[in-house]
């Protein structure tokens, strides 16, 4: 069923990661991604791996959910690491046809694999521990300065939260429409590519129709409650930084320093 697709799923909880301010998590996440791609030797890589492991452990989410999120990108990781493995520069240590194995290639493959895996694990960690609402709140707050150049921050954030809110609803709806068309003998799982694409029409049209209907309904409902955009609007839950968040930023600074120092003073492995 469509519902089985795990998509940035949020697991409610009360772990250290859950209690952090979403802004801290978002900034930290972006900074860590940058750091991941600035690792050029093994000590630096070890720091990143260590930090990722620590964050996963402190999220209190069972490890099997992280493994599930990795399963999706398994093929990407395999292809990129294989390509890197055989396209390194330097002395070949083994050669067959156009495939050339070098130490440089081996290092590259290890770095690429570890980087992508860390990247996915960290982003899963963020979405597992942060509800979509918190996330859009954080984005809205962080992008607030853009208001000065007349960028409609609040409106964009509102659109994002509305879109996220309706993902499960639309999935459920898709499921219902699929059942109804199957009951009328629609054949969704056989035939060649073109036939299958055509078989989607009876599902997509009702789905679009109902999505538009919902959009109109929501717009009317919002207008009925006198919604008129972001100016002067207060929030029910104000985001508040605490000592925990400060500690996080200090840790983040230390991690960045550590990686940069490794890069400066140690020889690059790739």
């Amino acid at each position: 069923m469509v519902r089985d697709v795990a998509f940035g799923q949020y697991f409610p909880g009360n772990s250290l990661m859950h209690r952090l301010d979403p802004r801290t998590k978002l900034i930290g996440f972006v900074a860590l991604i940058a750091v991941i791609f600035c690792t050029f030797n093994y000590p630096a890589l070890a720091i990143v791996v260590g930090v990722t492991a620590f964050l996963l452990l402190s999220s209190g989410i069972p490890f099997k959910f992280y493994l599930k999120s990795l399963k999706v990108i398994l093929i990407v990781v395999l292809i990129t690491s294989l390509l890197n493995l055989f396209y390194g520069s330097g002395e070949p240590i083994w050669q067959w046809w156009i495939l050339k194995l070098t130490w440089n290639g081996i290092h590259r493959a290890i770095f690429v694999t570890v980087r992508i895996v860390c990247l996915i694990l960290l982003s899963s960690c963020l979405t597992f521990t942060t509800s979509p609402t918190e996330l859009t709140d954080a984005i809205e707050r962080l992008m607030k300065p853009l208001n000065k150049i007349h960028f409609p921050v609040h409106e964009i954030a509102m659109m994002m939260s509305l879109a996220l809110r309706f993902v499960p609803t639309l999935l459920e709806e898709t499921d219902k429409i699929m059942q109804a068309q199957k009951a009328r003998g629609a054949d969704l799982d056989s035939g060649n590519f073109i036939r299958r694409a055509k078989a989607l029409v009876p599902i997509l049209i009702p789905l679009f129709v109902s999505a538009f209907r919902r959009a109109y309904d929501i717009a009317t409902a919002m207008e009925c409650r006198c919604y008129r955009g972001g100016t002067g609007r207060t929030r029910m839950k104000t985001l508040r930084m605490s000592g925990r968040d400060a500690a996080c930023f200090v840790a983040l600074a230390l991690i960045i320093c550590g990686v940069v120092l490794c890069d400066i003073f140690l020889k690059a492995a790739i």
Binding site: A180, R184, G185, V201, P206
Partner: protein
């Protein structure tokens, strides 16, 4: 009469193996005769929708069998689509499944999937439209230009056009105005009478069920609670109320009068019937002539 549908120890579990596991249908066994009109009632979440979805193979039972004319519908899983033409299913709010350019094409969708073509298809569509009271001029319109009630009838016609041996309707009258309800209900009765097909009607309206059903199937907490002739089922008003259902209002009034010691039958199903019973009682006692 012959048995058309037979359920043997049917069970279904949602989200098996996850923390959200929920038994939706639990060990249901029953049989339905050819040509019966069965009403299905039950509290929200009692498993009636899941139960009917298993009857045409939209979901596969976790345990047990569904026998259609004595053969397990899952005998050949690849041919489950053929079962869906034989057991037609109209979902709740079926108007949201319309998608074609014209009403005609939409009604023809299921029948064409079944393999009908040319005149046969045309006849099937027109007959189905006729059964559901859609005027011929509506057939060339876009389904999105119809009124709510017309859309509902077009969607039902789309299933009837497949000429199923068993027709299942899940809350066909929900959300319609009183006139629309009345009309649709009488069309269903008509269809059932003319075709002599088996019809299963899921509804929250006890009045509707009391009016049309031969037998009533009551679901409660995923289990079969009762399956008996309509009159017998509605004679058990107290038990029905305990599981969050009720009997038709007129039945309740008559039962209250009976409790006062007035000599009345314990299950009166419709207002007309109540009127007849009461007036013959009054005549007998010489209060009216």
């Amino acid at each position: 009469m012959s048995t058309v549908l037979e359920l043997k120890n049917l069970s279904f579990v949602y989200g098996a193996g996850t923390p959200f596991e929920k038994k939706a249908v639990d060990d249901v066994s029953l049989s339905i005769e050819q040509g019966e009109l069965i009403g299905i009632i039950g509290h929200t979440g009692s498993g009636k929708s899941t139960l009917v979805q298993m009857l045409n193979g939209l979901i596969k039972p976790a345990q047990g069998q569904v026998l259609l004319d004595g053969r397990d519908i899952w005998e050949q899983p690849k041919k489950i689509r053929d079962i869906r033409f034989r057991v037609g299913m109209v979902f709740q709010y079926p108007e949201y499944q319309l998608f074609e350019e014209t009403v005609y094409k939409d009604i023809a969708f299921g029948a064409a999937n079944k393999g009908l073509t040319g005149d046969e298809l045309d006849q099937a569509v027109r007959r189905a439209a006729d059964f559901t009271g859609l005027r011929p001029e509506l057939l060339e319109k876009s389904p999105f230009d119809l009124s709510g009630g017309e859309k509902r009838r077009a969607a039902i016609a789309g299933v009837i056009a497949m000429d199923p041996e068993v027709l299942i309707l899940d809350e066909p009258t929900a959300g319609l105005d009183p006139m629309g309800r009345e009309l649709l209900l009488s069309q269903i009765i008509n269809y059932h009478k003319e075709k002599g097909n088996t019809v299963l009607l899921v509804s929250h309206s006890m009045e509707d069920i009391a009016r049309v059903a031969d037998r009533v199937l009551v679901m409660n907490r995923s289990r079969l609670f009762m399956l008996d002739r309509t009159r017998e089922v509605f004679a058990h008003g107290d038990e029905l109320e305990k599981i969050g259902l009720r009997v038709p209002q007129v039945t309740k009034i008559m039962q209250a009068l009976r409790a006062q010691g007035i000599d009345l039958p314990d299950s009166v199903l419709t207002v007309d019937e109540a009127f007849d019973t009461l007036s013959s009682l009054l005549k007998r006692e010489g209060k009216i002539w």
